[in-house]
Amino acid sequence: MNLKLDKKDLKPFLQSLIDEADLFAPVQLAEGVLVFKKIDRPDEVDLSSSNTQKPAKEVFSPQSETMFRYEKAGKQHQVTSTEEVERKRVILGVRPCDIQAVSLLDEVFLGKEYTDSYYLNNRNATTMIGMACGHPLSTCFCSSTGGGPFLRKGSDLFFIDLGESFLVELLTEKGMTFQKSNFFKEANTEEISLAKAIEEKALKKTDTSVPVEGIEKRLDLMVESSFWDRVHEKCIGCRVCTYLCPTCHCFDIMDEALTHGGQRVRNWDSCLSSLYSQETSGHNPRPTNRERTRQRIMHKFNYFPKNFGRIACVGCGRCILYCPVQFDIRQAINWTSAKRLKLQRGGRSTNP
């Protein structure tokens, strides 16, 4: 059964979510600065703009997160854990690229021998309401990286903006709990075919030409290539691409101390920072921007696939959109393609 939510019912619907759970949704902080934020009032929510500047990963792996608090008790310490999530959470308006990115973060934080308790609790507590991308941007290439503007995978509920209303799809057990919601009505055939039309149009619009197929193997042969000299040349190491990347997950751990206690926190970190890998002795295994840029690209397209079988890029285009020097990761990927490499060997290379 296909459901819909009339836009006039959106605010009461949001209020009902706020009453039941902690609601996270896109909020316009300033012009062009759209982020996911915990919502106090329904009119804060902005579902009309394109994708958020900061990715939805923030709800699961916050930019700064307290790991525990400690207090001095004589010669010892009383440690208070902060890993519990007290209230259920709903995140609304997440784009398919960000949802796909969360599935990649799952591999890191939940996988192999150790489970990250903070991330796991955030994940378990959250119902994910995905939002179809009716109007992909020119920087979007999710269709090249195994996703798409209408990819439902990972969403519990999926919204498609029809103008006057949202078409609502309930996709998982968590999603089905909304079946009896008073705000959802049955959608008519006209609305369903309108949603189809929007989907087809959006699919045509996204870029499918970025050659990520086989990139892992190609990069295997390029670790010591002069390719990296050219790739890094432009980069000023500002790190914005890594902070705004929905799949980048590196963090730093540090203590914030007061006289009688304090907390251990972790903060987003970036492989493009020189301090990131610098050892106490002063030795740095990645001494220049060349090695650091290589690390960023190789991690996404070679190391991550080796460990988890998938590339760590979802084609959201944020790193292209917000780069101050117009570095375009699509071009870097393009350069690795066989055709390009041949051109380079022929000496007819073009600058990015």
Binding site: Y114, S117, L120, R264, Y276
Partner: protein
């Protein structure tokens, strides 16, 4: 489920300065809670994240052997914020410990073989763990000959001096201690580790080499091992990288797709050869 970021409370039982330059201090830690002590199992070559609340965490190789029950030993080089704080900490104070982390030395692979241990400087800590483990009566017959070459810049910089004396007396271990520069009281060998290895020329037959030391020592020792016909698969070393989480999440310690904290820190030379030269 256990939160892997929560430190286990430990108490500093004993602290002692190892070297004349006072840069290396050994802390002996014991568990504050009985159940933590019971649950803790490790193998030589593994490491822990030691922390002082308010200062932070630092990764340190375990210097004690699993055969020395009840306490853990770490020898700490005074270098950064946390290690400096660990140098100033008093006996009886609490420190946090997360671990054991990493893979450790491949004890099972060494079974029935000769073991050649080559150490330089303060990297000798986890090698001490390995040697003490195999010298324990329960484990001594697990491996055949144990040969140890251990070098320091000066006699005063040698670690575990009392223990070295004990080992020298034993017949079931061949120990060669060398220094770059001797002093008037030094009766032992003078010479760089790679040269001492060449001179000693241990047979590579049925032998595994474990080598830990400063990069410059490793660089010059590898060719000597090659000359002695050690195959890449039988040369083990332990790597150090800047680390934070120690459990393969925070990113920074990777060399290619390998994470030194979780996949290492112990690798053989054949494995290292396959990785990008990013270390």
């Amino acid at each position: 489920m256990k939160n892997p970021y929560h430190p286990i409370p430990m108490i500093v039982k004993k602290a002692s300065v190892e070297t004349t330059d006072r840069m290396l201090r050994t802390l002996q830690l014991s568990f504050l809670n009985e159940e933590d002590a019971k649950a803790f199992r490790f193998i030589p070559g593994q490491f822990c994240e030691l922390s002082i609340f308010g200062k932070g965490e630092a990764p340190l190789g375990i210097a004690s052997s699993p055969t020395e029950n009840g306490s853990l030993k770490f020898t700490i080089n005074k270098a950064g914020v946390v290690t400096t704080a660990l140098h100033h900490i008093e006996e009886g104070t609490e420190v946090g410990m997360r671990g054991p982390l990493g893979n450790g030395y491949p004890i099972d692979i060494f079974q029935g073989k000769n073991v050649l241990v080559i150490g330089g400087g303060f990297a000798f800590t986890t090698l001490r763990s390995l040697i003490a483990f195999f010298l324990h009566p329960e484990n001594r017959n697990k491996v055949k000959d144990i040969t140890v070459i251990y070098g320091a810049r000066m006699p005063g910089l040698l670690l575990y001096k009392e223990e070295l004396k004990e080992w020298e007396k034993r017949s079931d271990i061949k120990l060669v201690v060398t220094v770059d520069w001797g002093d008037k009281d030094w009766k032992g060998k003078v010479g760089l580790v790679p040269n001492v290895l060449e001179e000693l020329a241990p047979s590579s037959e049925n032998t595994y080499a474990v080598i830990c030391g400063p990069p410059i020592m490793i660089k010059f020792t590898f060719p000597k091992l090659m000359a002695l016909q050690f195959p890449d698969e039988r040369i083990y070393t332990s790597l150090e990288r800047r680390m934070k989480c120690g459990i393969g999440k925070c990113g920074r310690c990777n060399i290619g797709h390998i994470y030194v904290c979780n996949d290492g820190p112990v690798f053989n030379y054949a494995q290292l050869k396959k990785l990008p030269k990013d270390y």
